[in-house]
Symmetry: C2
């Protein structure tokens, strides 16, 4: 019987590690042209909204196929569907409903980037933002690095305090709410920018030498959360999908900055076809765009686990 | 919580009537351009097969959106997914898994055609084929007409006997297995052709004056189950989707026959924009192709019922 998982089923500290390892293998498959991730497919329902499909999967030894679908209708409750087939026997492995899988997947992409780009002895994380994405990014960082403490800044004092208390309990590390971007970033070996801000809230001068930065929030010329000077100082700039950065309706925030052409595919860094961090002095920047097909890979790994 | 239905849940004699009435309303909406049914969307997974999406829905008072997806991978077990959203509040109404919904939907399309095209006092049904499609077509015919008896022909004697026994019990009418196409069709007011034959097995001379014929099986120039002379003698030829008949990889079986241009859209007959049956002497032919979007409409009605 096809397994159906919902948000409440996606619990347990081992989920993030499983998701990161599954994506690590998927990025390697991508570098070998074994990942399927065609452009999104939109169907409009008059002026009421769209259904949006990201279809994708992996070839190779145990090929997977599947899709994610979400809608853009007006409503308070939204539900995504992710479904996964095992290509070898045409079996529908399972369906995952809700919002949580998407957050785990974005967190896990960030985790893979941190695994390959941050300094191996990174200990301190600075987080900007206190939403669901900030939570899974921090959980991902602690999964791939020996993180001892984190500092969180978010405009709303209550939100950052709640975030700190809850994440401290969840992850078993010190998490301290701080009153400014600089206080969060200054000593951090890893900076996670996971806000909804459409104006830059962090700049190169806020960062420590040798830092790795993940930007998860807005990244188009209509709005972006990260100062362009961070790209200027970065020794390595990578993304999970160069194609998708070129397909945005509003151009990617680095377009025309002079830095967009040296943006590497994270998959190529993992496959050692591109050079990543060379020393503990390097500054690295990862622009997370959500490679199509990764939902299917993460869903498959979680269905196998649960 | 999103309702999940599987094949075993789709039972009960009221299902077919609910499906037919839902499609009747949907065809009327289609005649008013209120039905969304864009072309199918295929994604290939190398040479292993495709995922195929039919997205669609209905606008109007209670707008619906959704999709069906199936795969063409090698395997013994195949599972379709149909999902339905209520557009007004973005709520995922439910998901239907398995093969049965597709059969009910094709049966119900046939039922709508029989409701609008067959003689109102049709009593005898002749069925060619004894598979799942033959079963739901017969159930649909008994839902919209006062059918008293049916004759079934299928090459395999055991299959037609089993079909007769099971359908007699299920529908409470006489169902008799017969030894030839002619024996099944000769006295029938309604003939249902639901075989997998790629060479014509029934011809105009097998039919009674005033008959209505549904062809559910192969209908392309690569293979078709119905003699072309049946289209020649038909006073009315209709289909649930003229667009889809023109989009087949191999041309539609009537292409070049001189009859393809007088093929009406069933929706237009229901909306009285095209003329249907005019007398009990008319021969009518319905070519069932499976209008995209109808799975969503039927799934929605069944989710509401169960």
């Amino acid at each position: 019987m096809t397994k159906i998982l919902r948000d409440d089923d996606l619990v347990g500290s081992e989920l993030m590690g499983v998701a990161i390892n599954a994506l690590d293998a998927a990025f390697l498959a991508r570098a070998q042209d074994q990942m399927i991730s065609p452009p999104r497919h939109h169907v409009s329902f008059s002026n009421r909204g769209d259904l949006v499909f990201t279809v994708g999967g992996m070839l190779g030894e145990k090929p997977l196929a599947g899709f994610r679908v979400y809608e853009t209708f007006d409503g308070v409750e939204h539900s995504q569907i992710v479904a996964v087939w095992s290509v070898e026997d045409a079996k529908l492995k399972g369906i995952v409903l809700g919002e949580r899988l998407g957050n785990i997947r974005t967190g896990a992409i960030g985790g893979v980037a941190i695994r390959y780009l941050s300094s191996p002895d990174a200990k301190i994380v600075g987080i900007l933002g206190s939403g669901a994405q900030a939570r899974t990014q921090l959980a991902a960082a602690t999964t791939v690095r020996q993180i001892t403490s984190a500092r969180v800044y978010s405009r709303d004092e209550k939100n950052r305090t709640t975030f700190a208390q809850e994440m401290e309990r969840e992850l078993g590390i010190e998490v301290r709410p701080v009153g400014s971007v600089l206080d969060a970033a200054r000593d951090a070996d890893i900076v996670i920018c996971a806000t909804t801000s459409s104006t830059p809230i962090i700049h190169a001068s806020d960062l420590k030498l040798g830092v790795h930065v993940n930007t998860v929030g807005p990244k188009t010329q209509r709005g972006y959360e990260l100062g362009l000077d961070i790209a200027d100082v970065a020794d390595v700039i990578a993304t999970d999908s160069p194609e998708q950065t070129r397909a945005y309706a509003s151009p990617f925030f680095l377009a025309g900055s002079g830095n967009e052409h040296r943006m590497a595919d994270l998959a190529d860094i993992i496959a050692k076809r591109e050079i990543g961090r060379r020393s503990s002095q390097d500054t690295t920047l990862f622009c997370s765009v959500g490679l199509a097909g990764t939902e299917v890979v993460v869903a498959s790994a979680i269905i196998d686990l649960l």
